[in-house]
């Protein structure tokens, strides 16, 4: 297991890696700030849920995965997509609904996909994607492979039947799944203790005969360490894990929600802001001599430039072609079964003369 102490003496490769993680978190932070700005400018529509304050969770967890592993996430998934290597351009363009977006402009903020990176979507129904993760884990085991299937969800999802049903099956069948509960303490405006009888979420894993850990989500190193252990359990022979990663959202639930709203105090938000995961990780790298203030500034400038580039790219990208409306409702071919393709109702204009 890597620690800061070993890192201090470490080879430059590890130092590079740690700096890269700082850069990733900073990229997510600056990206989300820019997304918030673009939203207020009307360039992003619909719902837009920002990840500010939780960056260490996505970056720490995904740093432990292989390229052939699979990830599903909630609708607050810009950070996970970027941490998985989707380009800021592809993600920003998707938020803008442009053809160059990672889902062709047809998914939007809540439905980022990149199958080539095993990033199988942001999903919009709370808890709905947790069984999908179990299914992906089932497929891995079915094929006797050693990938892992990782799922990110908020603490509010744990009271949803889908959570229970999926974890139960993962427990019965020992699926290579890691269920990551990002406990940011509020499901929209409902505090955890108002929604959940048992405050300690990780204990629920006991019901499913599943390994569990409670992790400080603002400490990148702790997140990485816990995730590393979970990945080891999940690779063959497979066993699932429930990670409860405690974190905090520094911004409102969505763009229509003020930073603290009625459900939490300004003081509470300020107190949590003191444990900003990016500052904590930067301080640690500085303390270990892996970076200095100038280095952090340079990194920030680089990240800002990348985000600005993404913004401009998104703005200049074309909208999807009107015909894209009809694409991908069904598979393009049914040749395997000799199915006669015909204009299905979905492929016809909604009105006779439209």
């Amino acid at each position: 297991m890597a620690t800061a102490k070993t890192a201090r003496k470490a080879d430059t490769r590890l130092a590079e890696r740690y700096r890269a993680l700082l850069r990733q978190m900073q990229l997510i932070r600056r990206f989300e700030e820019k997304a918030g700005e673009a939203y207020s400018l009307g360039k992003i529509g619909g719902f837009c849920h920002l990840y500010i304050g939780q960056e260490a969770v996505a970056v720490g967890c995904l740093s432990q995965l292989r390229p052939d592993d699979y990830i599903t996430a909630t609708y607050r998934e810009h950070g996970h997509a970027l941490a998985r290597g989707l380009t800021p351009r592809a993600v920003m363009a998707e938020l803008f609904g442009k053809a160059t977006g990672c889902s062709g402009g047809k998914g939007g903020s809540m439905h980022l996909f990149d199958a080539s990176r095993g990033f199988l979507g942001g999903h919009g129904i709370v808890g709905g994607h947790i069984p999908l993760t179990a299914g992906i884990g089932f497929a891995i085991k079915y094929r006797e492979q050693d990938q892992v299937s990782v799922c990110f969800f908020g603490e509010a999802a744990i009271n949803n039947g889908a959570f229970h049903e999926a974890l139960n099956m993962a427990g019965i069948w020992k699926l290579p799944c890691i269920f990551i509960c990002e406990n940011n303490r509020y499901g929209m405006g409902t505090a955890l203790d108002r929604a959940t009888a048992t405050w300690n979420i990780s204990e629920r894993a006991a019901s499913y005969d599943m390994a569990r850990e409670v992790v400080d989500g603002q400490d990148l190193l702790e997140v990485m360490a816990a995730m590393e252990r979970a990945v080891v359990r999940a690779r063959r022979p497979a066993a699932p894990t429930l990670l409860e990663i405690r974190t905090y959202r520094f911004v409102g639930h969505s763009m229509s929600d003020p930073i603290h709203g009625h459900y939490r105090t300004k003081e509470e938000v300020e107190a949590h802001r003191k444990r900003d995961p990016i500052i904590l990780w930067g301080d640690r790298l500085k303390a270990d001599g892996l970076i200095d203030d100038a280095g952090i500034e340079a990194l920030d400038a680089e990240v800002k430039a990348a985000v600005l580039d993404a913004f401009e790219f998104a703005e200049q990208s074309p909208d999807p072609e009107p015909e894209a409306l009809w694409d991908h409702v069904y598979a393009p071919t049914g040749e395997a079964s000799g199915i006669r393709r015909q204009a299905s109702p979905a492929a016809l204009p909604p009105t006779p003369d439209a």
């Binding site: 889902s103 999903h123 709905g128 019965i172 598979a331 015909q342 109702p345």
Partner: protein, 326 residues
């Protein structure tokens, strides 16, 4: 050609497809050790083992989602619902996950999955176990809805469904499992989206599917005795609709009656009516009539139940109305 029950024809399709493609597996409640609540999966556990014939807890939402997840990464799951009534618990996975994934991922992630199980009313099972939900699923872009009426079609359509790259809602007639018919051996594929003229006629088109096909055929016989020639079209697939066949028939007969088991409001037949009046308006000599289940939850009492269900007599009456004989 061998004669099989509808149940055994489905079993044959499952067996053949699982033998043909190692990515195909069957999952659901009681499909393995119990041999299937309706014995459709009889013998499969012994033949293919527990990895490919998977008993689940009673957790429809969960295992439907497991199926969708497995399909997202390339397996071809067959998810059995003990009945489609229970699939209501899984509808988020069918509608929000299976039907949407390809579209919202811009074609990157498909879901080649078959959800199957018995649908419609059997006998005196009461309100929660006697429902026909095809219209609900057919409403959803991204899903295909298949409803075979005969053993041969059951086999041929299930095999096609398993090979299809899109999520399929495959509804079997609970009352059809014991019906018998000739079923071709081996590679018998019935294409999805193609209707079948089960009986030719020239005065009225009877559109039906699944269980209502036999009712329509009975009605057609009765009508024949009265000198009225009815064409019976088994739609076989509710979505996509085989409009070519539908329009062709209406253009010949100029009158249409739709026989459906479900409720009347926004039922599958309502869609057909819309298509016909838009597609071949000038061919119609009478308003299209629908014979549907009564617009009530299914009662338990057998006389009330009978009154709520479609019957050949109701079909005959509707035919006479469109012929202006009533």
């Amino acid at each position: 050609m061998p004669t099989l029950t509808y149940r055994d024809a489905l079993n044959q399709a499952l067996r053949e497809e699982m033998a043909r493609d190692p990515d195909v597996f069957l999952m659901g409640e009681e499909v393995g050790v119990y041999q299937g609540a309706y014995k459709v999966s009889r013998g499969l556990l012994e033949e293919f083992g527990p990895t490919r014939v998977v008993d689940t807890p009673i957790t429809e939402l969960g295992f439907a989602g497991v199926g969708v997840g497995a399909a997202m990464v390339g397996l071809r799951p067959i998810i059995e619902f003990m009945t489609w009534n229970f699939a209501l618990l899984a509808i988020d996975q069918i509608v929000n996950s299976a039907a949407k994934m390809r579209y919202m991922s811009n074609g990157q992630v498909g879901v080649p999955i078959v959800f199957r199980g018995p649908a419609g009313a059997a006998l005196q099972l009461g309100a929660q176990h006697s429902q026909s939900f095809e219209a609900m699923y057919a409403h959803i872009p991204g899903l295909k809805v298949v409803m075979p009426a005969t053993p041969a079609d059951a086999k041929g359509l299930l095999k096609s469904a398993i090979r299809d790259d899109d999520p399929i809602v495959f509804m079997e007639g609970e009352m059809l499992y014991n019906t018998k018919g000739e079923v071709p051996d081996g590679e018998h594929l019935v294409p999805i989206g193609v209707a079948d003229i089960k009986r030719a006629g020239n005065q009225v088109s009877l559109f039906c599917y699944s269980k209502t096909v036999s009712l329509a055929l009975k009605a057609a016989e009765q009508l024949d005795a009265e000198g009225i020639s009815a064409e019976v079209i088994d739609l076989r697939t509710i979505r996509p609709l085989d409009l070519e066949t539908v329009f062709g028939s209406v253009s010949r007969t100029h009158r249409a009656v739709i026989v459906e088991e479900g409720w009347p409001f926004a039922g599958a037949g309502a869609q057909l009516v819309d298509e016909i009046q838009r597609g071949v308006f000038d061919e119609l000599d009478a308003p299209i009539l629908r014979v549907t289940g009564a617009d009530v939850p299914m009662p338990y009492n057998k006389h009330l139940e009978k009154a709520a269900k479609v019957s050949p007599e109701k079909v005959v009456l509707a035919v006479k109305r469109v012929l202006y004989l009533e």
